[in-house]
C-alpha cells in the first residue's frame, strides 16, 4: 500500500492506495507554524482502519522549504563563486556573505586560471568568524569540470556543517541559476534536515516502516534520506502533486490540457503524448530562476472565489480574492455565485448567491442574468487565452537543428481534464469554448494526495564527453572518468543509461520499472585546422515523471 501526503496552503490531504484503489483519505487544516503536526494528524486519520505495516512507501509533498524561502526564514549562507570572463557575477549576489574569487574554467572544462586558494581560505575564515556555518561553492562551467568547486569544499573542510557544490545540483549550464539554487539549498539545509528527522520519527511512531520519499516539482520523488543533501529539490511540489494525481486517475494519451480550478487561481499543465511537459530550465522562486526541474505549469488568477468586478458597465473576474463566495457566507459575489445563479452549480447557500448577483444590477444597466453570464464568459475566456498562450509558447520554443525545425512535433491538445471545486460546474462551459472532449475525474478532490502517493522517482542526468581530452563527466551524480579517444556517441548513450540505473540503485530505488529515456544526444566533430581532433558528445537522459506501474490501472475511472 502507498501513503501519500500533500501539505497544501489550506489543507493537508492524505490518501492510502492499495490494490483495491483509494482505501482511505483524510483532510486536515494546515498549520503553517507547525507543519509536522499537520502531517502527523493527517496520517493518524487516514490510517485509522489500515494496518500500518502494510504501507510499503510514504510519499510526502511539503511546503516547508518553499515557505521558508518565501518568508525569508532561512539561514545565512557563505556563497563562494569564481567566474572567469563574462557577466560580472556581482549581479548575481545572494545573501550577505557573497564572495567572488579568482579562478577560471572555460566552456570545454579546461582550467585557464587556478583558483585562488589563499583568498578562499581568507573568505572561509572570515565567514566562520561571522557565525556562518553553511556554505555554497559555485564556479562557472563546473558542470564541465568540478575541480574548483571540489578545491573550495576541501578548503572549507570542518569550518562548515554543510557545503552545497553547484555541479551536484544539475548538469545544466546556467551559472546565475546555479548560484541561486546552491544558495537556497544551503539556506534550508538545516531546517529541512531537522524536519526530516522529525517526520521520520513521527511516521515510525504510527508503526509505518515503509520507505519515505519526498515529492519534487517535476512530479517525481526522491528518497528522503537522499534528499537531505539537496533539500532545494523539495520546493514548489504542490502543483506537480495535482498533475500527477490526474495521471493516476485518468488514461491520458496524446496531447492534453489539465486545469486545476482552485479558490483563487487556475493551474494549467500541458501533456504531450500522454506525459507531462517539464520546464526547459527550471522553476522560479522568489523572482530567482533556479535549476530545480519542474513540470511546465502556469497559474492564472481566476478561481471559484475570485471576485466579480463591475467597472464602466463591464464585468471582469479576479485576480483578487476578497473573501469567500457569498454562497459560503462572503460579502462580495464571486465566480461560484455566478455559476449558482445560472444553474451550472448548486453550491452552498444558493439564495445568497442570487441575492449577491442581483445586487450588482443597481450599479449597471445589465440584468442579473447578463451579469452572471458575463462573469462566467470572462473567466472561461481568460482561461482559454492563457492555455492558447502556453501552447503557442511551447510550439515556438527554439530548436537547433534543421530536422527539428522542419519536421518537429507540435503540441495540439485534443483533451481537457478538469479538477478543483468548480470543475463539474464549468465542464460544459469549458468544453464548448475549447471545443474539446472534457473529463472530470471522480476523486479529483484528493487528486493532489493521490498524485503524491503514486509518483515515482525521477532523475535527470547530463553526460558530457570530450574525446580530445579523454574525459567524461556526469556532474550531478558525481561521475568523472577517463575515456579512450575512440569513444562514441552510442557508447555514451549506453553509459548514460547504465550510470543512471546504477545511481538509482545507490539511492535505494530497486524497482525495475524505471523507464529510462534519452532526451537528446549529439556528437560534434571538433576540428583544428583541417584535422578532426575529437568528438564533443552530449547525452541527456532521465527517468520521466510518471506514476508507479503497479498502481497505474487501479484507479482509472475516466
Amino acid at each position: 500500500m502507498l501513503l501519500g501526503v500533500d501539505v497544501g496552503g489550506t489543507h493537508t490531504d492524505a490518501v492510502v492506495i492499495g490494490d483495491g484503489g483509494v482505501l482511505a483519505f483524510a483532510k486536515v487544516v494546515t498549520r503553517h507554524d507547525h507543519l509536522l503536526s499537520s502531517v502527523h494528524e493527517a496520517i493518524e486519520k487516514v490510517i485509522e482502519n489500515i494496518s500500518p505495516e502494510e504501507i510499503s512507501r510514504v510519499n510526502l509533498s511539503t511546503t516547508l522549504t518553499t515557505n521558508a524561502i518565501i518568508e525569508n526564514k532561512i539561514e545565512d549562507v557563505c556563497v563562494i563563486v569564481s567566474a572567469g570572463p563574462g557577466i560580472d557575477p556581482g549581479y548575481y549576489t545572494m545573501g550577505k556573505h557573497f564572495y567572488n574569487v579568482d579562478g577560471e574554467i572555460d566552456h570545454r572544462g579546461s582550467e585557464i586560471v587556478l583558483i585562488d586558494v589563499k583568498e578562499v581560505e581568507r573568505v572561509v575564515k572570515k565567514s566562520h568568524k561571522d557565525g556562518v556555518r553553511v556554505f555554497a561553492a559555485v564556479t562557472k562551467f563546473c558542470t564541465r569540470n568540478p575541480l574548483h568547486e571540489n578545491i573550495i569544499k576541501d578548503r572549507i573542510a570542518d569550518q562548515a556543517d554543510f557545503v552545497t557544490m553547484g555541479h551536484l545540483l544539475s548538469g545544466q549550464l546556467n551559472f546565475p541559476r546555479r548560484i541561486a539554487t546552491a544558495y537556497f539549498n544551503s539556506a534550508v539545509w538545516r531546517l529541512y534536515n531537522d524536519f526530516a528527522d522529525a517526520i521520520k520519527s513521527s511516521i515510525e511512531s504510527h508503526g509505518i516502516t515503509g520507505d519515505i520519499h519526498v515529492l519534487k516539482a517535476d512530479g517525481g520523488t526522491i528518497p528522503m534520506e537522499y534528499s537531505r543533501k539537496t533539500p532545494v529539490e523539495s520546493i514548489l511540489s504542490g502543483p506537480a502533486a495535482s498533475v500527477m494525481g490526474i495521471v493516476g486517475l485518468c488514461n491520458i494519451s496524446g496531447d492534453s490540457i489539465i486545469l486545476d480550478i482552485g479558490g483563487t487561481s487556475t493551474d494549467i499543465a500541458v501533456f504531450a503524448d500522454g506525459a507531462p511537459l517539464v520546464e526547459r530550465e527550471g522553476i522560479e522562486l522568489n523572482a530567482n530562476p533556479t535549476l530545480v526541474r519542474a513540470l511546465k505549469t502556469s497559474s492564472i488568477g481566476i478561481g471559484g472565489d475570485s471576485a466579480i468586478h463591475l467597472q464602466d458597465n463591464r464585468i471582469s473576474v479576479g485576480p483578487s480574492r476578497l473573501g469567500p463566495a457569498m454562497a459560503d457566507g462572503g460579502s462580495i459575489p464571486t465566480l461560484i455565485d455566478a455559476l449558482n445563479y445560472t444553474g451550472h452549480s448548486s453550491y452552498g447557500d444558493i439564495d445568497k448567491s442570487r441575492a449577491g448577483i442581483e445586487s450588482m444590477q443597481a450599479k449597471s444597466s445589465m440584468d442579473a442574468k447578463t451579469i452572471a453570464r458575463s462573469a462566467i464568459d470572462y473567466s472561461v475566456t481568460m482561461i482559454y487565452n492563457e492555455v492558447q498562450r502556453i501552447v503557442e509558447s511551447i510550439n515556438q520554443r527554439p530548436v537547433y537543428t534543421i530536422h527539428e525545425l522542419l519536421s518537429g512535433k507540435k503540441v495540439e491538445p485534443g483533451h481537457l481534464y478538469i479538477m478543483g471545486g468548480p470543475a463539474n460546474a464549468m465542464e460544459s462551459l469549458l468544453s464548448e469554448k475549447f471545443n474539446m472532449q472534457t473529463e472530470v475525474p471522480e476523486h479529483f478532490r484528493v487528486a493532489n494526495a493521490i498524485g503524491a502517493a503514486l509518483a515515482r522517482t525521477t532523475v535527470e542526468i547530463e553526460l558530457f564527453a570530450d574525446t580530445e581530452h579523454c574525459k567524461l563527466v556526469i556532474p550531478n551524480i558525481n561521475v568523472m572518468k577517463k575515456i579512450s579517444i575512440d569513444y562514441t556517441l552510442d557508447r555514451a548513450k549506453q553509459d548514460a543509461i547504465e550510470m543512471l540505473r546504477d545511481h538509482l540503485h545507490t539511492i535505494g530505488i530497486n524497482e525495475d520499472e524505471n523507464d529510462v529515456e534519452i532526451l537528446d544526444s549529439s556528437s560534434f566533430n571538433m576540428v583544428r585546422g583541417f584535422e578532426t581532433t575529437g568528438q564533443n558528445i552530449r547525452v541527456r537522459c532521465q527517468v520521466k515523471p510518471g506514476v508507479m506501474h503497479r498502481y497505474r490501472d487501479i484507479l482509472k475511472q475516466c
Binding site: 566552456h107 546565475p176 523572482a287 522542419l406
Partner: protein, 437 residues
C-alpha cells in the same frame, strides 16, 4: 536580476545538423561553444532578452532579391532558407515593435552572395541580409536602410546587390583586399551612377586593433550614418576580425566588438563569418548581445586576451587617420560630383567575371543599368557560367518610373522572343511579380 535597457530578441539557429563538409570552417560545431557560453551566462534569463525560433524564408523571398539560375531550389538548401528566415524573423521583431533590437545568430552566412546566384561563393549561397532588407521594404513602410558590414572580408555580395540603390547605404570595413579574399572593397568603389557615394569601403591594414576599429566607427561611420539618416541600421556582424581567427590577420577583441556595437547601436545585427569558434565566438557573441541589450559588458574578454600583444602599431594609427579623411571626402564631396555620368535614358554597362570559390564556378556577366533621375533605374543582367548557359535577369525597382517599367517589359519580351536565353527571370517590384520564363 539583470534587466536589459533595450529589449533584445535573439534568433539563435546554429544548424547543428548542417555543414559545407565535415572539416570545413562552416560546420556543425561552429556555434556550439557560443551556445554553451550564452547558456552558462544565463543570457535568456535577463529580463528583456528573449530567444526566438527562425522563420523559414520562402522561394518568393529569395526571388524578390536574387536572380537565381536555373532557380532557387537548385542553388539553395533548407539551411539557407532557414538562415535567411532567421534574419527575416529578427527584422519582424523590431519592425513589429515586439523588441527594440534583434540579433540573428544564424548560419550559414550570406554577404558574399551577389545579385546573380549560380552557386556558393565565400561560404554563401544567398545573401541573408539582402533577403531580409527586401522583405522589410516589401512589407513595411521603410525607405532608407544602412548596412554596416564589420566582417573581416569585404562584403562583395551585398555591395553588388546594392550598387545601384541610393536608398541602401552600404558601408564595409574589412581587411584590405590586397591581403585577403575576395580581393575587392577599395575606397574607389563607391556605387553605380544612380547611387554614387551610397557604397563606402574602408579597407583596414592587417593587424588593425580595437583602437583602429573604434576610431573608424566614431570618426567615419557615425558621421556618414548621421548624414544619411537611415530609418534602420543593420550590422553585418562578421566576427573574423578577431586576433585568433584562423583565416584573417586582424587584432580585434571581444571587448572591441562589444564597444563597436555599443557605439554603432544597430537596430538589427546579423551574424556573418567568424571561424575562431572556441577562442573568440563565445566571447564576441556574448559581448555583442550584452552591448545591444544595454547591459554591462565590461567583464567580457577572451581567456587568452593580453592587451600588450594586441596594442596597435602607431604607424597603423597614423595610416587610419589619413584614410579616414579620404573616405569622408569621398562620401561628402567626391560622390556629389557627377562629371562623367551618362545622360539619363542611357544604359551604364559593367562587365564582370565572377569566381565562385566554394563551388568552383566561373561566371561572366554584362550588367546594364538605366541612368535615371526619376527612379533607381531598370536593371538588366545577361549572365552565363560554367553551370548555366546564357541567362537573363530583368529588375524593375521599387517605385520605378513609367519609362523604366515599360523599358523593363520591353527587354523582357525581347529576351523571351529572341530565344537567346536558357532562363529568364523577372523581378517586378512595382507589381510584386517574380517570374521565370
Amino acid at each position: 536580476m539583470l534587466k536589459a535597457k533595450n529589449k533584445l530578441g535573439i534568433v539563435f539557429f546554429p544548424a547543428f545538423d548542417w555543414a559545407i563538409s565535415p572539416t570545413h570552417p562552416e560546420r556543425e560545431e561552429r556555434l556550439l561553444y557560443t551556445q554553451d557560453q550564452l547558456n552558462e551566462e544565463g543570457i535568456f534569463d535577463i529580463d528583456g532578452i528573449v530567444e526566438y525560433k527562425p522563420d523559414v524564408a520562402t522561394v518568393e523571398d529569395i526571388d524578390r532579391t536574387h536572380f537565381c539560375f536555373p532557380d532557387v531550389d537548385h542553388v539553395t538548401t533548407e539551411s539557407h532558407l532557414i538562415s535567411a528566415g532567421g534574419a527575416i524573423k529578427s527584422a519582424k521583431l523590431v519592425l513589429d515593435g515586439e523588441m527594440d533590437r534583434s540579433f540573428a545568430l544564424v548560419r550559414p552566412p550570406g554577404h558574399h552572395a551577389m545579385k546573380v546566384v549560380h552557386g556558393a561563393r565565400g561560404f554563401c549561397n544567398i545573401n541573408i541580409e539582402a533577403v531580409m532588407i527586401e522583405y522589410i521594404r516589401e512589407h513595411y513602410n521603410v525607405k532608407k536602410i544602412a548596412v554596416v558590414d564589420t566582417d573581416c572580408h569585404h562584403g562583395d555580395g551585398t555591395q553588388d546587390i546594392y550598387w545601384h540603390d541610393p536608398d541602401v547605404l552600404y558601408i564595409s570595413m574589412h581587411q584590405d583586399g590586397r591581403t585577403l579574399y575576395p580581393g575587392s572593397g577599395f575606397m574607389q568603389e563607391t556605387g553605380g551612377p544612380n547611387a554614387l557615394g551610397k557604397t563606402i569601403n574602408i579597407p583596414l591594414p592587417p593587424t588593425t586593433g580595437d583602437e583602429g576599429f573604434n576610431y573608424v566607427i566614431d570618426n567615419v561611420v557615425m558621421p556618414i550614418l548621421k548624414d544619411f539618416n537611415a530609418d534602420i541600421v543593420i550590422n553585418s556582424a562578421g566576427q573574423d576580425n578577431h586576433y585568433s581567427d584562423p583565416i584573417t590577420n586582424m587584432n580585434f577583441s571581444a571587448q572591441g566588438y562589444a564597444r563597436l556595437n555599443d557605439h554603432l547601436n544597430p537596430d538589427i545585427a546579423v551574424l556573418e563569418g567568424g571561424y575562431s569558434i572556441k577562442g573568440a565566438l563565445p566571447y564576441i557573441n556574448l559581448g555583442i548581445v550584452l552591448a545591444m541589450a544595454g547591459v554591462d559588458y565590461s567583464y567580457v574578454r577572451e581567456p587568452d586576451y593580453k592587451y600588450k600583444d594586441l596594442k596597435q602599431d602607431p604607424r597603423i594609427t597614423k595610416y587610419l587617420k589619413k584614410m579616414s579623411e579620404q573616405v569622408l571626402r569621398i562620401y561628402f564631396k567626391d560622390s556629389k560630383d557627377d562629371t562623367g555620368k551618362l545622360m539619363p535614358g542611357n544604359y551604364d554597362v559593367r562587365k564582370k567575371e565572377i569566381y565562385y570559390d566554394t563551388d568552383g564556378i566561373r561566371e561572366s556577366q554584362i550588367e546594364s543599368i538605366m541612368v535615371c533621375e526619376d527612379c533607381r533605374g531598370v536593371l538588366k543582367i545577361e549572365t552565363m557560367s560554367s553551370v548555366n548557359p546564357l541567362c537573363l535577369g530583368v529588375e524593375i525597382p521599387i517605385n520605378a518610373c513609367e519609362r523604366c517599367i515599360s523599358e523593363g517589359y520591353r527587354i523582357l519580351n525581347d529576351g523571351i522572343e529572341k530565344e537567346r536565353f536558357t532562363h529568364v527571370q523577372l523581378i517586378d517590384r512595382v507589381k510584386k511579380k517574380y517570374q521565370r520564363y
